[in-house]
């Protein structure tokens, strides 16, 4: 059941009607039951995995807390190990086993050994990367003493399964969501306006921008050898629009849905293509994952506290694992590795400037530099999507060959890029200028109505509502 389908519309309308009619505790029960219905609509068999994950961390959270009260650090560590180890085993088994088995066999093959490891033939459970990371944050926070576990199983289970964020995030910190679940929600008009605005903007992003951009990008990636350099470059920009609008659109629809029930989910994107540098990009792109990796991987590895070399190593490890989080494929590892390299390069450059006393430019030079830097970051990030999008190294290689062949022709392929860029900017620029993603609410009625009508028209012209799944569902 995708957010952009009529089925979800009816499901959500029913949910809202029932939700508003019930008192707080029963609302939680209702949401839990409907969240399981929502998840089961993909494949009911994977509900058992969700339950297993929920039970492991519920029990582990209580045990860690109990051990903390009894001042038994070993028991705390054991319970944490049960939680993190259990989640990683589930994730590793379903998502990474085939990748590592395949890679190991290929490596041993080079040394003349020909082992035959059994491969799994199972579908990746929807949203597994998202809910395992979220539940891990729950037990780790309890272990750190940052949070007291809930004793109410329904509340905890709902924090894991809450349908707006279950299958593709935002990867909500358990502590922020559980607090909202435990208290009665107050759905004010503000929540309604914000929720509807976010949902509408998300839907426009997905249907009117991401899906058409994806259809074009797919054509280029399906047969890169058939195109000259300009169309292939356009293909990368189109994929950049697709993945951004697809995932940001999903996140906005998720947050809009949650708002309509009185919940606040964390913001996942802050117009990332306006980032001034690569570090800034990662503070704007998939914020819930990048902050998760920062809080639960980069900082525990030592962050930037152990000297410049270790900082760079930590950055690379974080980005490589961040890449691998997206999928069990070397393309994602390369993508993460490249971003890690960019970050290392950026930090080195910043340190070099600091060492040489270069603190700032004149105002004009600074403004120009910011624009040039933003364009540079955008081009670099867009180029790196190539490794993310290609399903195999052969496609990557063919794409790179065509891209850098500098064959003339096909310049008109830039037209869809400009159209879709304009559409993206019509949403992002007002949001960025007002630093308000619900900017519609503040606008004058006539401007707001024109924006809504234009969005409606674009949705109608796009037409393929509900036909394309969200990219991040595969992760």
């Amino acid at each position: 059941m995708l957010f952009n389908t009529p089925q979800y519309f009816f499901f959500f309308c029913f949910t809202l009607l029932a939700y508003y009619a019930l008192p707080h505790r029963k609302q939680n029960l209702l949401l839990l039951a409907l969240s399981y219905v929502f998840y089961g609509s993909w494949d009911w068999r994977f509900l058992s995995l969700l339950w297993l994950s929920t039970v492991i961390d519920y029990v582990a959270g209580l045990k860690i807390h109990r051990a903390r009260e009894l001042q038994r650090p070993r028991a705390m560590r054991a319970a944490l190990l049960l939680s993190v180890g259990g989640q990683l085993i589930i994730l590793g088994f379903f998502k990474y086993y085939n990748f590592f088995a395949d890679s190991l066999m290929a490596m041993l093959d080079r040394f003349g050994m020909h082992p035959s490891l059994p491969l799994l033939h199972v579908v990746l459970p929807v949203g597994i990367s998202f809910y395992t990371f979220q539940t891990m944050s729950y037990t780790i926070d309890i272990y750190r003493g940052a949070f007291t576990p809930t004793r109410n199983f329904v509340d905890f289970a709902l924090s894991v399964a809450f349908f707006p964020h279950l299958v593709a995030g935002p990867i909500q910190r358990a502590r922020s969501l559980i607090v909202q679940i435990e208290r009665p929600r107050i759905v004010t008009c503000d929540y309604w306006e914000r929720g509807l605005t976010l949902f509408a903007i998300g839907l426009i992003r997905k249907v009117a921008i991401a899906d058409p951009a994806g259809a074009l990008a797919d054509a280029y990636f399906a047969n890169p050898a058939a195109y000259t350099s300009v169309p292939l470059a356009c293909g990368l920009f189109l994929y950049g629009f697709q993945i951004y609008n697809d995932f940001a659109g999903y996140s906005e629809m998720a947050r809009g849905s949650a708002n309509l029930m009185g919940f606040d989910l964390m913001r996942n994107f802050r117009h990332p293509y306006f980032a001034r540098n690569i570090s800034d990009f990662w503070q704007r792109w998939h914020i819930s994952l990048s902050t998760w990796l920062r809080d639960y991987l980069y900082i525990p590895l030592g962050g930037n506290r152990r000297g410049p070399v270790r900082t760079r190593v930590n950055l690379m490890i974080t980005m490589l694992l961040g890449g691998l989080w997206h999928g069990a494929s070397w393309n994602f590892v390369i993508w993460g590795g490249l971003h890690g390299t960019y970050l290392v390069g950026y930090h080195s450059w910043r340190e070099w400037r600091a060492r040489h006393g270069i603190t700032g430019d004149s105002r004009e030079a600074s403004a120009l530099g910011a624009v040039a830097s933003a364009i540079g970051v955008y081009v670099l990030v867009t180029f790196t999507w190539l490794f993310f999008r290609s399903h195999d190294m052969a496609t990557t290689s063919a794409y790179l060959t065509g891209l850098f062949s500098f064959q003339p022709g096909g310049e008109g392929a830039i037209v869809p890029v400009l159209v879709l860029a304009l559409m993206t900017m019509c949403i992002d620029v007002p949001q960025a200028l007002s630093d308000n993603e619900h900017m519609l609410v503040e606008w004058r009625p006539a401007v707001r109505a024109a924006f809504v009508a234009a969005g409606l028209l674009l949705l109608l012209l796009s037409g393929n509502v509900g036909n394309e799944p969200f990219i991040y569902f595969q992760f």
Partner: protein, 365 residues
């Protein structure tokens, strides 16, 4: 609603704001709807997409204009591309009416790739209610009696918004179809991605839709060129075979059932239904037993028509070589304008002789 911290005056203010906003949106969308109905604007836009294929929209628009001009519709031709190319309504009208102001007004609603099941669907739900003809003539050729991959196209057709409501009637489907048939703004669904896709290769690609590329006259006739001799000389035809022997009549069951339903749907409206054999080039019936194969095919259709109580017309009178000139064809089943003129004239003569009083009466309505 659940507990709300919003005061009642605040809520009233918000509701007023929402209402104003909704009204403004409706006004803007309504304005766009009106603009889309301006013919000069519509002419510059892509063909509307409310039906499974744009050909239906083009035909429907042509039919609407015809009805506006004449105020009536007498004879409706339905079938596949062999009807679309081989029956010229203007010729038909002039032969039946004897020239001058048409005594009858006919229209060709044939559509490419439409096997009998698809013809039945559109006839029942689109053409009959809109055109209200007094006579429906369905053309058919041998190959259309058998299931083929073309026939499977029906499954795709009924995935269309409007068509799915015809095939699977229900309140929700019906309301959706009504909305799509009523509001222009909904009828351009999917045109943005199509337009963007045209730029894929760097230059705007030619529109692939047949309806935009080929000429269709104001009566729905689509002439087919060049002639068969040219086509053969250029070796543009491959893998063409004569029609086989009609051994297994069960294979025709689905097609005959669809024709039966078409005839019944026509009769329910009080109109007359006629089935017509659309002649193919003599090549299709070549070979030592060509005459027998042709006779078996015609016998099947004649017997079927008799059992169902409608007329079956064969202008070839059982002669498989009646249409054999390469100048009268564009391939082995689609006729050139010359062939279409001859076949239509023969058909008109048959119908005039049989239904002259009816046609004359209908023209006086």
């Amino acid at each position: 609603m659940n507990p709300s911290s919003t005061s009642s005056s605040e809520r009233r203010y918000r509701l007023r704001r929402w209402a104003i906003n909704a009204l403004l949106v409706v006004a803007i969308v309504g304005g766009i709807e009106l603009v889309l109905r301006i013919p000069a604007v519509e002419a510059r836009l892509p063909i509307r997409t409310l039906y499974h294929e744009t050909g239906v929209v083009v035909r429907l628009d042509t039919l609407t204009r015809l009805l506006e001009s004449y105020g009536r519709m007498d004879v409706l031709f339905v079938g596949s591309s062999v009807v679309r190319c081989n029956i010229n309504p203007s010729v038909f009208d002039s032969v039946v009416g004897g020239g001058g102001e048409p005594a009858v007004v006919s229209f060709n609603a044939g559509l490419s790739g439409f096997w009998p099941a698809s013809v039945r669907l559109y006839l029942e739900d689109l053409w009959l209610p809109r055109a209200k003809p007094s006579l429906v003539v369905q053309g058919i050729r041998f190959a259309e009696l058998f299931p083929s991959k073309r026939a499977r196209r029906f499954d795709r057709i009924v995935t269309g918004v409007v068509e799915s409501a015809w095939e699977h009637p229900g309140p929700l489907n019906g309301a959706t179809a009504w909305a799509f048939e009523t509001f222009r703004i909904l009828q351009y669904r999917g045109t943005l991605p199509s337009w963007l896709m045209r730029w894929r290769d760097g230059v705007p690609a030619a529109v692939e839709e047949d309806e935009v590329r080929v000429f269709t006259d104001s009566r729905g006739w689509t002439p087919r060129t060049p002639t068969l001799d040219v086509v053969l000389a250029r070796q543009l035809l491959r893998n063409e075979n004569p029609n086989p022997r009609l051994d297994d009549r069960d294979c025709c069951r689905d097609a005959l059932e669809a024709i039966r339903q078409s005839a019944r749907a026509v009769r329910r409206t009080g109109a007359e239904y006629i089935l017509v054999n659309v002649p193919e080039h003599a090549f299709r019936w070549s070979g030592v037993d060509g005459g027998e194969r042709y006779a078996a095919y015609l016998t099947l259709l004649r017997a079927f028509a008799n059992s169902e109580g409608f007329e079956f017309i064969d202008v070839t009178r059982g002669d498989p070589d009646a249409f054999s000139s390469p100048r009268e064809f564009s391939d082995y089943q689609h006729m050139s304008p010359d062939g279409a003129r001859r076949f239509t004239a023969l058909l008109a003569a048959e119908l005039r002789a049989r239904f002259d009083p009816k046609l004359t009466a209908s023209s006086g309505r």
